[in-house]
Symmetry: C2
Amino acid sequence: MTQSHALDALIQSLRRLPGVGVKSATRMAFHLLQHDRAGAEQLARALEGAVRSVHHCARCHTFTEAEVCSTCLDPQRDATRLCVVETPADQAALERTGAFRGLYFVLLGRLSPLDGVGPQDIGLQELIARASDGVVQEVILATSFTAEGEATAHVLSEALQRRGVRVTRLARGVPVGSELEYVDLGTIAHALADRR
Amino acid sequence: MTQSHALDALIQSLRRLPGVGVKSATRMAFHLLQHDRAGAEQLARALEGAVRSVHHCARCHTFTEAEVCSTCLDPQRDATRLCVVETPADQAALERTGAFRGLYFVLLGRLSPLDGVGPQDIGLQELIARASDGVVQEVILATSFTAEGEATAHVLSEALQRRGVRVTRLARGVPVGSELEYVDLGTIAHALADRR
């Protein structure tokens, strides 16, 4: 499309990023070459560095540069509670609450049959093996409360309970700080059913 | 935020792309590392290749790997008409019409004082020098019909006309294929004023 094969190759490569179509990729490529060549070089180095050194933690599957991540190696943490999250970002959100001192299992995805993401892609077998190791007493499902997150929680719950593992799910209810009038009805109905 | 410095560095680098915030950058980084490491390596090579080999055409300022781009070197083209466009993508759109056989000057941007883009950033001096070379008889302003594109056309037109260069602008009017009822009023008013 342009006068340069290298520029066309860059636009095609940028399109492999999720959510980036040909117009965004073109805008990104023009921006980098016109205004931020240092940024382009930095991004190239960061990509190579990450591909070379980032792997999955052998225990919790999160992204780490070590064989086992620092959270899994922390002897202060309660190994009897295992919290299942979709992404390292979800894990970071839970960590910031300071309310959980157990360990994690990071799915790095969620079930999405339409996108070809099945149980093997989110590590169901590894989770079952981990949850059945005799140390874990409770698996807390903290996948998102979206349709796909709920479906993932349902499948994991079925598979784990069939093997006698105790499974819990984060509570659904009214968010802290919200006025009842403005909360959606499904949430209020759940909060009512799960009252305590 | 994550367990890996290399992953954090990748997320920070992806944020330098236009329109990418921390959430998009995180999603892109996870996607590349989880599902498309080959894509990450390809993108790194494409970035390095583009930064190394893509430069500005000495005559029209577009991105090219040669000293002067193939369009500027084409002896078949009418050097008396110079069309000013914002981006190589706009140039490509004009080329696809097959209706223009002159040469181009690519601004690689548009005036945007709020973003710190002034006349020197879009090559006003180079455009004036090019338009005053004795060969060019008409400069056709084909910047976008947005507020910034119109302001750019206005500034270029003033500067060029002051030096005695003949300046024209792409016609404003009703798009081909549209029903008048659904065309916005500003466009109809322009089409009426510019009737022929």
